[in-house]
Symmetry: C2
Subunit: 214 residues, 2 copies
Amino acid sequence: MKNILDRNQDKADEVRKLLREKNVVMVNLISSPGAGKTTLLERICENLGNKMKIGIIEGDITTDRDGQRLKKYNIPIVVINTEGGCHLDSHSISKVLDLFDLNALDVLFVENVGNLICPAHFDLGESFKVAMVSTAEGDDKPEKYPMLFREAKAVLLNKTDLIPYTNFNLSNFKKDLIKINAQIPLFEISCTSGDGLREWFEWLSEQLDIFIKI
Amino acid sequence: MKNILDRNQDKADEVRKLLREKNVVMVNLISSPGAGKTTLLERICENLGNKMKIGIIEGDITTDRDGQRLKKYNIPIVVINTEGGCHLDSHSISKVLDLFDLNALDVLFVENVGNLICPAHFDLGESFKVAMVSTAEGDDKPEKYPMLFREAKAVLLNKTDLIPYTNFNLSNFKKDLIKINAQIPLFEISCTSGDGLREWFEWLSEQLDIFIKI
């Protein structure tokens, strides 16, 4: 296992170096199955598609359904099928980077395989990770999956429109999150109603500026 | 990987043999994080606790929160922390079986780690697997995670009370599920409202009879 992670890290460092040279920010988006990653990417394409040049890598076990959903935005998308694998790794990312014109991109979103565990262990060479969790999953996720919430640069709490119909307790969620990662910004959003998305888009735009100026 | 799976299979066969001898049915419950596995076990303890002798193995990455929730039912529970591992395996199950009085059990529920992928690959020596999915996760899960839906003996579609507030399409879900596994029984349930639980409990009781008579 250590060997696998070491080799992954070497390749991730290579990917990160290449993306820096090309001024491309890579965002590694991690969540459970069905937390709303693809819907978030739809909202990003609709709202930021004319402000920044976006590319997407879609990680999936076996289908290209998420990729199909995003085709309508006319942006470069590459689907990686892991053939049963439960996470992406830096080697698979490195291989598909050739399929993008990196000179024509500002930001490359990676939709990781739906899984809160292994994707947190594998550096893809991203600029930063974003953890996404849906209110319907319950308020206990930060404590149960601490590695992801420690590794991420921001947390998106999606499906806030469902809170009235669930036993999700926002103050318990925040209390647990702060214990794991005291400084992490939390965005409460609904990708269906649009609530909270403006603040998240602003933060994302700032990060892009910061990372490109470094 | 093949080596790991082969060794897992050998130990799973041993576990299965032991449980047969003891007339204990083991149910391996698999879902995404937050689909409702622990709440289902609460409903099972409340409704079936006086009809069958229940034991529970709680698989979790790092905490014993789910185990704590179930303590009130006064049934034997053992928590396995995988220390970051994304699934249980037959070796960890075999080790904790000694902690149960198997002669005093009818059924042993295993709450696997929240993950739709790797748990489907690892036989624990269970009598059968049950796949659980929440309506809030979307209707595309059978096609996206086919192995689990192929392996399972039943599917529980939980959180049907949330359908009116989501874009979940029941007929698409069923259509995809039938393509993967035409014969599999589907139970539409809500562990919070109680809808559909009676049918699932009846099916479960029948399975216990069938497995013990074999």
